[in-house]
């Protein structure tokens, strides 16, 4: 068991709900400060996006963040170097699209991630069937490859995913791309289905954008992932201090 999973299991077993905020690396010059503010607010782990030109699972907000980051000259290696510079104190999960790692080379990616202290990755366009070589590359590097379950995933598939999952299971609350939604959608049903096949922590994501929604997620699952709601505000100029305050409301 890698450290990410151990950490999250411990929290779960201790009855602690996990708030996992997402920010896009490089989207604002002080993105690193925002990450630290999130940690200060009580994030159980942070998700750090590495921008990709063609983010097919992202809605307009995170697309805009990716564009801003790319325009600022962000590169994957730059992000990893920045993360390596100083530990954040909570597990760092990198979220990006598979081409970033493929292009860099899987071995090299794994080694850079490891050196940066990254303990998990979410690659939304790398599903179980295609993940083999990648998982081999990160093996022995203390990096969990997080898998998603969607409302559309049939039972048999949930079972397969649950069996292969590492770190936690990402339960997509709805058939949608990232964004800010009105409710937690189908999260309950998805979480239930995952639970039937796995005792890993289950986090709800996609659309979670208010403390109320997060609390509802905590009531049905082990944690909530909050991306667009946060990214949107940071893009609009929210300061790191304000980020901390905003984030606190999501922490139980």
């Amino acid at each position: 068991m890698n450290s990410l999973e151990r950490h999250l299991r411990e929290r779960r077993d201790a009855g602690q709900s996990s708030f996992v905020p997402y920010l896009m690396a490089g989207m604002v010059p002080d993105w690193r400060d925002h990450l630290e503010a999130l940690v200060a607010a009580g994030a159980a782990a942070v998700e750090v996006g590495v921008p990709f030109s063609d983010p097919i699972l992202d809605g307009v907000v995170i697309q805009r963040a990716a564009l801003a980051s790319l325009e600022a000259g962000t590169t994957p290696e730059g992000v990893f170097a920045e993360l390596a510079r100083r530990p954040l104190g909570v597990p760092v999960i990198v979220m990006t699209y598979f081409n970033i790692f493929h292009h860099l080379g899987m071995e090299r990616s794994a080694s850079l991630l490891h050196d940066a202290g990254v303990s998990g990755v979410i690659i939304p366009d790398l599903t179980l069937e295609e993940a083999g070589p990648w998982r081999e590359a990160v093996t022995g590097r203390d990096i969990d490859t997080v898998l998603l379950v969607a409302p559309s995933s049939p039972e048999a598939r949930v079972e397969k995913i649950a069996r292969a999952a590492q770190g936690f299971v990402y339960a997509a609350s709805r058939m949608a791309v990232t964004g800010q939604a009105e409710d937690t959608g189908d999260a309950g049903a998805v979480v239930d289905r995952v639970r039937r096949h796995s005792d890993l922590p289950v986090f709800v994501g996609i659309g979670i954008s208010t403390p109320e929604q997060a609390r509802h997620a905590y009531s049905i699952a082990d944690g909530a992932i909050v991306g667009s709601a946060l990214v949107d505000r940071v893009l609009r100029g929210m300061s790191a201090l304000e980020t901390e305050a905003f984030a606190r409301d999501f922490v139980l």
Binding site: L57, H102, H103, T127, L148, A150, P151, S152, S153
Partner: protein, 394 residues
């Protein structure tokens, strides 16, 4: 005689063409891709479906398209050039083959709606056309820049009853229209089929679209035999995503014919790209140093795609087909050449293939060779642009 497996084979459950292909999509789309895979596999082994597909293409799509011997061009080039006339298919290009297949499959799957991406508008118009015929709802995603540059095609789709949604993300062109269509598909897979426009995307699209387009190659192979020419020495097609090329190659991949795909020099995924993952597939892609996808650049909107279908990447890797880049200038000249010598104004896309033949006749194509050109579409859509380019020069 031992039976060897066909070169352009069934890529199986995982949709691999050698190192390429596969299915790199959000988990939410996996069931839809699997459903589509199963539905297509089932349909494609169902004689009734195949018969309906052929029937619609015959009575609605204008198939079979003829093969025209280009007598005057051949004489001037010293090679015998035959053109497969996809420009005569309904809506003016080979695109109709694919959309007829996919819309029939949509209905068979019990879905009532299609979405599609489009660049300049060709595939969008074709999809809207096939959808209108079956009474399916249709929404087309089109880069905002393209909706402005191709306003007439937007209107055409609207006439055909489709809704056109301008895509404002990214570079606001084809690449982003695909992204947006994928994103939208995530939200509506239940009743909606994503009618992808070329041999690209996640499995089963590259395979399925190739199968639908293979009617070009199978017809052509039969027609070349009927003409008494038999197997041509070279088969040439332009390559954007690669559907028209895959379609004609499919008829000759297991023959002695040399297969040549002509990409736009500014969108040459094979010669100028590297392996990567985009739009649900692993293939050759134009990328920056850090793995960002780069914009293709070409006078021809239909070849403005930074990737190429995974099976082409595979055919290149195993040496069965080769892919060359062609700059804009000789393409315009080739369009003029074919127009004035044969009375056929080709699409700018197709003119890439003509340009390669014109350049290589007597060089890479030995004099006296027989060349089969896939004339993927007609140039009506490009005439205004060509005029402006030529005017700008003089």
């Amino acid at each position: 005689m031992t039976q060897t497996a066909p070169v352009m084979r069934d890529p199986g459950e995982d949709g691999r063409f050698g190192d390429f292909g596969g299915r790199f999509v959000p988990e939410a789309l996996i069931p839809a891709c699997e459903e589509l895979h199963d539905a297509f596999r089932d349909a494609w082994t169902d004689d009734a479906f195949r018969e309906e597909f052929h029937h619609v293409l015959r009575e609605f799509g204008g198939r079979p398209t003829p093969i025209t011997y280009l007598a005057r061009l051949s004489e001037s080039l010293g090679v015998r050039v035959y053109a497969k006339r996809e420009d005569l298919a309904h809506t003016g290009s080979h695109k109709i083959n694919n959309v007829v297949g996919q819309t029939l499959l949509t209905r068979r799957m019990g879905k009532t709606r299609v979405i599609a991406e489009t660049g300049a508008g060709q595939h969008g118009v074709a999809t809207a056309t096939a959808a209108a015929r079956l009474g399916l709802d249709c929404t087309v995603y089109m880069g905002e820049l393209d909706t402005q540059r191709q306003a007439l095609n937007v209107f055409r789709m609207e006439l055909l009853g489709a809704k056109v949604v301008p895509v404002t993300s990214g570079s606001r062109t084809l690449k982003d229209a695909v992204n947006e269509a994928m994103r939208e598909w995530v939200t509506c897979v239940d009743d909606t089929h994503y009618c992808l426009g070329s041999v690209m995307g996640p499995h089963p699209f590259p395979w399925m679209v190739r199968e639908f387009q293979s009617i070009i190659g199978h017809e052509a192979s039969r027609q070349m035999a009927e003409l008494g020419v038999g197997t041509p020495d070279v088969v040439v097609a332009c390559v954007g995503g690669g559907s028209n090329a895959a379609g004609i190659f499919a008829g000759f991949a297991d023959s002695t014919a040399e297969l040549v795909g002509v990409e736009a020099a500014g969108g040459a995924a094979i010669s100028g790209g590297q392996p990567g993952v985009l739009h649900g597939m692993k293939s050759m892609l134009l990328q920056s140093e850090s793995g960002q996808i780069e914009e293709a650049e070409s006078i021809s909107a239909g070849l403005d795609y930074p990737g190429i279908g995974p099976e082409h990447a595979h055919l290149a890797a195993i040496g069965r087909a080769r892919y060359v880049g062609m700059a804009d200038e000789p393409v315009i000249e080739a369009l003029q050449l074919l127009s004035s010598s044969e009375g056929i104004i080709p699409a700018l896309e197709s003119a890439h293939a003509v340009a390669w033949i014109a350049r290589e006749a007597g060089r890479e194509i030995p004099s006296g060779s027989t060349v089969l050109l896939n004339l993927s579409g007609r140039g009506d859509k490009d005439v205004a642009q060509v005029r402006d380019i030529l005017k700008g020069r003089s």
